[in-house]
């Protein structure tokens, strides 16, 4: 039985009796992973931007996620766990989304020519969404990998060192642009794709969504660049002490217990 099913599928007749339900699931999963990733990205941005408040604030958030305030001790492995989840989501999302990309040069030129001719905003935005998504394959990879393998290297000095002395800042500029554009466009597209917030006047809703989308993108880019600048500044200042972790002033009297 099993082998005959396999043969039927092998010949390409599996879908003739009843269409597979997988495309429905995949469509949902693509949107779902995108939504979770976009929301994660926003939260992530808020967390790292606490550096703009103070080094201590950023340190506190970091330790919070390492469980320090629950267990009285840091478990960076918890971060690795989160990162592993994000990587999984990224891989699944990328795997599904890549189906929509132009798969050959002919499709690429057709779409590009079409976009140039139409000058239609949502069509053009898709091109950028696809392009930034493609870029994320590469620029997100080093970041998530280092977070997975060195979760303890998060902190005001640790991050500052990575950004500056570790030469991550060019990568982070690209990553920031790609993530914010991709996520912002993606969330807008999710809203129209699934007709969220349609209300009685879908046209007005869409207009508002578009405005909101651009406002959020600008906001997060501004926040992101300010945050990056803050880490760069810290990184330059901390360069001579590269590698030394940050310890809040309040804890410097009793440094034992932290980072053990």
């Amino acid at each position: 039985m099993e082998s005959s099913n396999q043969l039927i599928a092998g010949i390409g007749l599996a879908g003739t009796a009843r269409k597979s339900r997988w495309p429905a699931r995949l469509d949902f999963i693509q949107s779902g992973t995108g939504l979770v990733l976009a929301l994660f990205m926003w939260g992530h941005m808020f967390f790292v931007s606490t550096i703009l408040i103070s080094n201590d604030a950023m340190w506190t958030i970091t330790k919070f996620f390492e469980g320090y305030f629950f267990f009285g001790k840091s478990y960076p492995i918890m971060v690795s766990f989160v990162v592993a989840t994000v990587i999984t989501l990224l891989v699944v999302h990328a795997f599904l989304a890549v189906r929509k990309f132009p798969i050959n040069y002919r499709q690429f030129t057709t779409f590009h020519g079409h976009m140039k001719m139409m000058r239609h905003e949502d069509t053009t935005l898709w091109f950028w969404q696809a392009l930034t998504g493609f870029a994320l394959f590469f620029v997100a990879a080093p970041h998530v990998y280092i977070m997975l393998t060195h979760p303890e290297l998060i902190g005001p000095f640790e991050s500052g060192d990575r950004v500056w002395t570790g030469h991550y800042w060019p990568l982070y500029i690209l990553l920031l642009l790609a993530v914010e554009l991709h996520g912002g466009i993606g969330l807008y597209r999710l809203a129209v794709k699934w007709d969220w917030f349609a209300g009685p006047d879908p046209a007005a809703t869409r207009k508002r969504l578009k405005t909101l989308k651009w406002a959020l993108t600008v906001f997060f880019l501004a926040l992101g660049f300010a945050t990056l600048a803050a880490y760069v500044k810290i990184g330059i200042a901390h360069a001579p002490d590269y590698g030394k972790p940050y310890v809040p002033a309040a804890l410097q009297a009793a440094p034992q217990g932290v980072n053990k």
Partner: protein, 264 residues
């Protein structure tokens, strides 16, 4: 409003190519993308026709004047010339729309006309939308599948909620002009994509209680990447639809219904 004299004003804007009005008319330069697949030796090229604008001139009038006075070989399609049959869709300054109801005064003095992409080109501005639409309809089962194939015609018709009838008509207003498909980036890349026109058809029959089909049946025809899951929500279909059909909400609705079958 009921002052009759004030009524003289709108007609001054009206008209259809007459020679009335002595005000200086613009000299239009109309660039047309020309190519006849039957004469492949002549590559695609732009040809520019000068034309004096007239009051209330539509592209229907302009193109016919060009064909009669300047170039008898120019191919294009018009039928109703009143914006209701969907024959004359073409790309005007980069956007697909109905030519017959496009007034030249709504365009600059120089503008470009091109055939709808995606569809088989017959020649110049004429494309074979009908052939594709028929194929789409055959593929989707784009007709009402009757629950009772031989109703007794002497008996009163089945009742239907008046609002539901209006809703169905709203989706039935599609004129199959092809603008939505020509404007669709997905369809341009993947020629088997069913397009907004097809998904709208499904939404229409789904809505109709007289149709015998269930969501499972519709899933069989649009439950893949050539169907509703292929749609990338670029929404150009919605934005160019000359009949202002609610394509964005309808496609989203169909998508939700079809996705919900993924776990049933």
């Amino acid at each position: 409003m009921s002052d009759a004299n004030s009524k003289i004003i709108p007609i001054a804007k009206a008209g259809n190519g007459g020679d009335g009005g002595s005000a200086a008319h613009r000299q239009l330069k109309i660039s047309v993308l020309r190519y006849n697949p039957q004469e492949p030796s002549q590559p695609p090229r732009m040809q520019t026709y000068p034309l004096e604008e007239a009051d209330g001139m539509t592209l229907f009038i302009a193109l016919n004047e060009i064909r009669e006075k300047q170039d008898p070989s120019l191919q294009f399609d018009f039928v109703c010339r009143a914006g209701i049959c969907g024959s004359c869709a073409m790309v005007i300054n980069g956007r697909p729309t109905l030519a017959c109801r496009t007034l030249t005064k709504s365009l600059g003095a120089e503008f470009t006309l091109a055939p709808l992409p995606f569809f088989e080109l017959i020649g110049d501005l004429s494309v074979n939308t009908g052939k594709w639409m028929r194929g789409m309809s055959e593929r989707l089962g784009g007709w009402l599948h009757m629950k009772e194939p031989n109703p007794d015609l002497r008996r009163a018709e089945q009742k239907m909620d008046p609002d539901l009838a209006d809703k169905i008509y709203e989706l039935d207003r599609c004129v199959e002009c092809g603008c939505c498909v020509a404007a669709c980036g997905t369809a341009r890349m993947r020629k088997d994509f069913v397009g907004a026109v097809g998904l709208n058809r499904v939404a229409r029959f789904r809505l109709d209680p007289r149709d015998a089909r269930t969501d499972d049946d519709y899933y069989e025809v649009i439950g893949d990447d050539d169907g509703v899951f292929g749609c990338m929500s670029l929404l150009a279909c919605h934005d160019v639809c000359p009949k202002d059909l609610p394509l964005a909400t309808q496609i989203a609705f169909v998508r939700r219904k079809m996705v919900s079958l993924g776990w049933s």
